[in-house]
């Protein structure tokens, strides 16, 4: 008698070695995919969407690449997931985390083939990860006390982050821009208050940081184009018809005359509302919803600048920068907080006209205007800048800093190696494997830069066996260099997140010994 069928049709089950192999292969394929984008000389990928328009994205941001992939292998999904989380949590290191997890699994596969039980490998990896983390903790530098040094640290981190991106040509410019923007936040990690406006045209170098706030809107016709000492009312209210909202109300009339009367009443109502708004003593009115022609005309008559249909984020940000509150009712003009700014004017960037609020009360928010040759360049620039901003804002909170350029990996590898020698039992193989995986990262960086990785890594390792060293890979000159002098730094928080999440993901995949795939849900055919 045939074995009873347990699962539903089309559900598949893979067991033991086969399951493990499937997940190793899937995970390593993903790691190999993003491997070439690692490091300052990493290459970019073109992603073409399957949707309408076949949009093209050019990027070397690991998270962006992985997000856009359609993946079927469950183990690969785990890796995509950690990269996403890395992006959400620290913003940078999205490629490194996947590559490290991939390397850990590659080493683990070798060990499994040598008949070492996965649980033993996991135990070894755990010890190694702990040891690596402690090694990093010993070596961190914290310059929080010294504002100047801290700022230069931030600069270095920003430059290191940006150097692997499209902005590397003007990294100094952008690093300064990012550091300035983040320092204005004064420790908050809410990147919402940094607005990024992309305008095609010009070159990347023309990008600038604006201290005020730029709203991508036009000023209504016939209204003043420039207001000094503006008093701004930020509102979220219907300025079209302003319906009566009580449920079930409807207009039923029996003659044309009545229609006219009600129309007048409606107009009157709108007029009153506008009057009330004007009574706040404002000279600028920004609304989230549409402003119809009639009220707009009334505003123009009163000499008030009325801006309609600003998006919700814009409104929130504007309220934040100008210090006003978002109003929806206008009956108590005396107690509504108005926003203030020194000057509102229309400015031109490229061919577009924008509204510029300068001299705002709260210094937190600012706007970065990105210029660039094409929308792809701008998109990539925005992603890169976003990475840099994320890293910086995290660093402001956790000011511990490490050197970059493969230095932390080599330091960890050295400590982990030492641990392997001291540890008795099969675990030590796994610990050694962990150290090899760590060394794979500088290897990939130098491979991507077209350098002789075998030679470089061995030199680097020799350097690191001296007591204190700042040696790392200098991709520019193609040799081993002093990272401190070259000013290549990384944030401790990013490195730690990379280390821990990669180990966690590798462990998760290693523990699996069976994959059960349910039949895909059938889509209804509506074709």
């Amino acid at each position: 008698m045939a074995a009873a069928r347990l699962l539903k049709d089309e559900a598949t089950e893979e067991k033991g070695d086969r399951a493990r192999m499937a997940s190793f292969i899937g995970a390593m394929a993903i790691a190999d995919l993003v491997k070439t984008t690692l490091g300052p000389k990493g290459m970019d990928k073109i992603l073409q969407s399957t949707g309408r328009g076949r949009n093209v994205t050019v990027t070397n941001d690991g998270a962006t690449i992985l997000k856009s992939l359609h993946i079927d292998n469950p183990a690969a999904k785990v890796l995509v997931d950690i990269s996403k989380v890395q992006d959400d949590e620290v913003g940078d290191g999205t490629t490194s985390v996947v590559v490290l997890a991939g390397e850990l699994l590659r080493e683990a596969e070798k060990l499994v083939n040598q008949k070492i039980h996965p649980m033993t490998i996991i135990a070894g990896y755990r010890m190694a990860a702990e040891c690596a983390r402690n090694a990093l903790l010993l070596k961190v530098k914290d310059n929080k006390q010294d504002p100047d040094k801290f700022k230069s640290d931030l600069m270095k981190i920003a430059m290191t982050t940006l150097s692997s991106k499209i902005l590397s040509q003007d990294k100094e410019h952008f690093a300064k821009l990012a550091v300035d923007a983040v320092l204005r936040l004064k420790g908050s990690t809410n990147l919402e208050s940094i607005q990024i406006i992309k305008k095609a045209g010009g070159s990347l170098k023309d990008s600038f940081l604006d201290e005020g706030f730029i709203l991508d809107k036009k000023i209504g016709i016939g209204q003043p184009k420039r207001i000094e000492n503006a008093k701004i009312l930020v509102a979220n209210t219907a300025m079209d018809t302003d319906k009566v909202k009580i449920y079930g109300a409807r207009v039923r009339v029996d003659s044309m005359a009545r229609v006219a009367e009600i129309e007048v009443a409606e107009k009157e109502k709108m007029k009153q509302k506008v009057q009330k708004i004007i009574a706040h003593g404002i000279n600028c009115f920004v609304n989230r919803q549409l402003i119809y022609n009639f009220p707009e005309e009334l505003f123009a008559d009163a000499g008030i600048l009325a801006i309609e249909h600003a998006d919700f984020d814009g409104i929130e940000r504007l309220a934040l920068v100008t210090g006003g509150e978002i109003a929806s009712t206008f009956d108590n003009p005396e107690s509504v907080k108005l926003g203030h700014c020194k000057l509102i004017e229309e400015i031109m960037i490229g061919e577009d006209r924008l509204i510029h609020f300068s001299g705002v009360e709260m210094g937190q928010a600012c706007t970065v205007v990105l210029r660039g040759a094409s929308s792809h360049v701008l998109d990539e620039a925005e992603r890169s800048l976003h990475d840099a901003l994320c890293v910086l804002s995290q660093t402001v909170n956790d000011s511990r800093v490490l050197l970059g350029g493969g230095w932390p990996e080599m330091t960890m590898a050295k400590e982990v190696d030492e641990l392997a020698r001291k540890t008795p039992g099969k675990k030590s193989h796994a610990i050694e494997a962990f150290s090899r995986s760590l060394q794979a990262i500088p290897t990939i960086i130098s491979d991507n830069a077209g350098l002789d990785s075998a030679e470089l890594i061995s030199q680097l390792r020799a350097e690191h066996h001296k007591d204190t060293t700042n040696a790392g890979i200098d991709v520019i000159s193609g040799g081993v260099g002093d990272m401190d002098k070259l000013g290549i730094s990384e944030s401790f928080k990013v490195k730690q997140a990379v280390l821990l999440s990669a180990t966690e993901a590798a462990e998760m995949i290693l523990r699996v010994d069976e994959i059960i795939t349910c039949a895909p849900r059938k889509r209804e055919d509506r074709m």
């Binding site: 347990l6 049709d9 039980h117 990147l191 009580i246 509150e325 523990r511 010994d513």
Partner: protein, 535 residues
């Protein structure tokens, strides 16, 4: 097959459309059922114990779940076979009743079925086997009671509880920080426990997870966590000594349920209606303000105007809070859920020492913490972790730990883990078998052997030679008359589970044995399977 003939040799039909149905009967039916049950057990066998492996399950929608929780694996597996479904039910009922040991119960049932198959081949009648099993299970439940120990803890001395939870957690992926999680679980359970009645309502413990951060950041909040933010971005982010109005009515114009129409035909009507509308909003906010509320939590949405009025009157508000959360908030803050503005009174407000909004990571995720509540009996465990799967798995593990802690509060008897209880039972059952006359003796002996399969699987998963280890431990137990010897899964060096601090709850173990026996009995009794044919 199912064709019967009357005395004249004419066939008549018993089952409708029998040609299209397949039918198995007699020994063959039992064997088919047993092999299905065994197949399920075989899948779970490798997940048993601290060194058990995980399973990766891909759902029909492509989501990936990685777990080693027996109940979850079976639930996600999309099982088609009827008997396999019984096993799934079995693991689920263990989950509902005890919350832990869901893998063990299935493995035990599988082993019992395997033994039953051997007996069936020898020609023992299935009913006799079930009777033997029944007796043996009673015997082992009693034996468990005799080797169990009372175990003392109090609100101040939670160490023993933590140890037990750690045993549960050590088989999960979270065992890296099992200590911290076990402490969280125990504290959470103690916070909501009614120690006099020995009752714990686990619904008061809410488990929330958020992707990001690391497992070590998981925390216990003596209060409620709501995944919402303030309705207006400029409302205060921190409120001390909040008086909370909990509303289930929207800040919107009223919508009478009866059908109605308001006809506007004159200008006056239009204006009065408008006036009324404005007053209505004002009224609502004023009512909340009048009773002294400093925070409004509402189940529904707000109108833009109402939102601004609230902001204007300096009354922070949260909207779209789910029903379950609303109830928890009401319990925690000692407030009442108010369905109408008219019924809002000062007594119905909930009190909380601190309400604050906290943001996470680089995204703009914010959550609302309601802490220092008047009635601190509702707590939240907030889990952080590297990825979604990790958090889901942590949630499941924590659920197990919470259940274990609850069971201990209900009944503080424990047995020792690591397979020691099973081995000890097996010895006792074996000895009892010899005293029993009749065919059941064989069944009882088989039961003893089935019990051995659990420590065997443990040893196998830990990479130890299973038979060597088991026999060594068994002889040690008999020689030293020490029921605490088990399998040393973690390579600690001693196999005395008492020294290793590996406990399990007595009721959990008893339940496992009883449930598994019941299901096996049920499967054995089936001698005819009629199912629609596949073609």
């Amino acid at each position: 097959m199912a064709l019967a003939f009357d005395e004249y040799g004419r066939p008549f039909i018993i089952i409708k459309e029998q040609g299209q149905k397949s039918r198995l009967r007699g020994l063959e039916a039992q064997k088919a059922n047993i092999s299905a049950g065994k197949a399920v057990a075989r899948i779970l066998r490798t997940s048993l114990g601290p060194k058990g492996m995980d399973k990766m399950l891909q759902s029909p929608d492509g989501d990936v779940v990685i777990t080693n929780d027996g109940a979850t694996i079976l639930e996600q597996m999309d099982v088609d076979n009827q008997i396999a479904k019984l096993m799934v039910e079995l693991s689920r009922s263990q989950d509902y009743e005890i919350g832990d040991g869901t893998t063990g119960v299935v493995v035990l049932a599988g082993a019992l079925l395997e033994q039953a198959e051997k007996l069936l081949e020898r020609g023992v009648h299935p009913i006799r086997i079930s009777e033997g099993y029944e007796m043996a299970s009673k015997l082992s439940a009693e034996h468990l009671e005799s080797i169990s120990q009372k175990f003392e803890f109090s609100v101040t001395d939670i160490e023993p509880l933590v140890q037990t939870c750690m045993t549960t957690l050590s088989s999960k992926i979270v065992n890296r920080c099992k200590r911290a999680l076990a402490e969280i679980a125990v504290k959470a359970v103690l916070a909501v426990a009614d120690l006099e009645r020995k009752d714990v309502n686990l619904e008061l413990i809410k488990v929330e997870g958020k992707v990001g951060g690391k497992l070590e950041d998981t925390e216990l909040i003596y209060g409620i966590l709501v995944d919402k933010d303030m309705s207006h971005p400029q409302m205060p982010k921190r409120i001390e000594n909040a008086n909370i109005a909990i509303l289930t009515c929207p800040f919107e114009p009223p919508k009478p349920k009866t059908k109605h129409k308001i006809d506007i035909d004159t200008v006056e009507k239009f204006q009065t209606l408008r006036q009324q509308e404005q007053n209505y909003f004002d009224d609502m906010v004023q009512k909340c303000k009048d009773v002294g509320a400093t925070l409004v939590i509402c189940q529904w949405g707000f109108d833009d105007e109402a939102n601004h009025l609230l902001m204007h009157r300096n009354l922070p508000a949260v909207r779209w809070v789910g029903g379950v959360e609303l109830e928890l908030i009401a319990i925690a803050t000692g407030g009442r859920i108010v369905p109408r503005f008219q019924e809002l009174t000062t007594e119905k407000l909930g009190k909380a020492g601190l309400v604050r909004e906290k943001s996470f990571g680089t995204t703009k995720d914010r959550m609302l913490y309601i802490e220092h509540c008047a009635n601190s009996r509702a707590v939240t465990v907030f889990i952080r972790g590297g990825n979604k799967m990790m958090i889901e798995e942590t949630k499941r593990s924590l659920h197990d730990a919470l259940c274990v802690a609850r069971n201990l509060i209900r009944n503080n008897s424990i047995v020792y883990g690591g397979g020691s209880a099973e081995i000890s039972c097996s010895i006792a059952v074996e000895a009892a078998a010899d005293r029993h006359p009749g065919v059941e003796q064989y069944a009882i002996r088989s039961f003893a052997e089935a019990l051995d399969s659990i420590p065997m699987a443990l040893a196998e998963n830990s990479g130890l030679p299973p038979i060597d280890t088991l026999t060594a431990v068994k002889s040690q137990q008999i020689k030293e008359n020490n029921p605490y010897c088990g399998i040393d899964c973690n390579d600690v060096g001693t196999n005395n589970m008492r020294e290793q601090n590996v406990f399990e709850t007595l009721i959990g173990k008893q339940q496992q044995i009883l449930l598994a026996t019941q299901v096996v009995k049920m499967i054995l009794k089936i001698d005819d399977v009629i199912s629609p044919s596949e073609y």
